[in-house]
Symmetry: C2
Subunit: 203 residues, 2 copies
């Protein structure tokens, strides 16, 4: 049935497995896209402008902020990240669902401004497992890891205002749960009622 696109807003502490989960889910659903954010950080190896992010200068980012073009934006570890209002409008009009892989500050701004978004928090199984996973990433120093664990405790407390909590204990189960949230939310009455009313002449 025809309906507006759904915004799935996904946050997690670093090391919870959010990026991998999001990729998996986008591969499964043809009508689900990764929302491309703007960022001032440098591209990492393999990242493509316009696909992973729109990589822009701090001046351009500030100018977009000043013109009110962002639905949400946040500074994380000294870099700015933002989602443009235009991206969300396109989703609404075209009926294409979007995954917004954004941090808690950004999610909170969206929650205040937009109705109908679906807020999902991904949790690691435990602090111990989180430390193990972060240690496994050769890229991070012990200092960075300790800072991330401390940050995680604060972030996890924010999970209480999300709509769904998914514990990434077994990856396949977490995928199944995230997939289920995507499908179930498309069946929410307030999203399909207009189409149903038309089809069954309930006016």
């Amino acid at each position: 049935m025809k309906r507006e696109g759904v915004l799935y807003i996904i946050s997690a502490p670093s090391g919870a497995g959010k990026t991998t989960l999001c990729k998996e889910i986008i591969d499964i659903f043809p009508h689900l896209r990764h929302s491309v954010s703007y960022t001032t950080r440098q591209p990492r190896a393999g990242e493509v402008h316009g696909k992973d992010y729109y990589f822009i200068s701090m001046d351009d980012f500030r100018s977009m902020v000043d013109k009110g073009e962002f639905a949400e934006w946040a500074e994380v570890h000294g870099n700015c990240y933002g989602t443009s209002i235009r991206t969300l409008e396109e989703c609404r009009i075209t009926g294409i669902d979007l995954i917004l892989d954004i941090d808690i500050q950004g999610a909170r701004q969206l929650k205040e401004r937009y109705e109908g978004g679906v807020y999902i928090f991904i949790l690691p199984p435990s602090y111990e497992e989180l430390r193990r996973r972060l240690n496994g990433r050769s890229s991070d120093s012990d200092d960075v890891i300790s800072r991330r664990i401390d940050a995680a405790a604060g972030e996890i407390r924010e999970s209480r205002w999300y709509d769904y909590i998914i514990v990434n204990d077994q990856f396949s189960r977490a995928v199944e749960e995230l997939k289920s949230v995507v499908v179930a939310e498309r069946c929410r009455t307030f999203r399909v009622l207009e189409a149903v009313t038309e089809r069954f002449d309930m006016g």
Copy 2:
């Protein structure tokens, strides 16, 4: 994670395919049971007391109503059907999820009395398809079918206050959607927050 059982309340107009969908879903999930209702109607061939229904006399049914033992009850085509409060309490305490396959009157009573239930409405693809399906049931006369189609129009209007609407167009898709609602609802923050708080020492 430990949590209370979830009540999935499913209604549909006759011929939407609700019974088959419910059976399919119960086969899939080990922790999901069909709630056994009380009824005053006669058992049909193959129906088992205590499994399909508790078949009781009108006197016994009235006595249970008088003692306030029903969470919901309704009269449908001259027979009474009801769900006991005890059944719902057991679900809450044991963490076993229940499918309540009940009519709209009963669902409305539950909605007024219980928080946290999940209300799902199953729709046929169209009135034409509904008529075709009801015609295919050799058991029903033309009169009964016409009455059911008329009733369906009124029932479908009630779908607006349910949480989810599933259109049973393609059976496999409807199963997938119902399955997704079951899994997604188990991840709702308000159902898992207590367990998460304990695990991550968020107190």
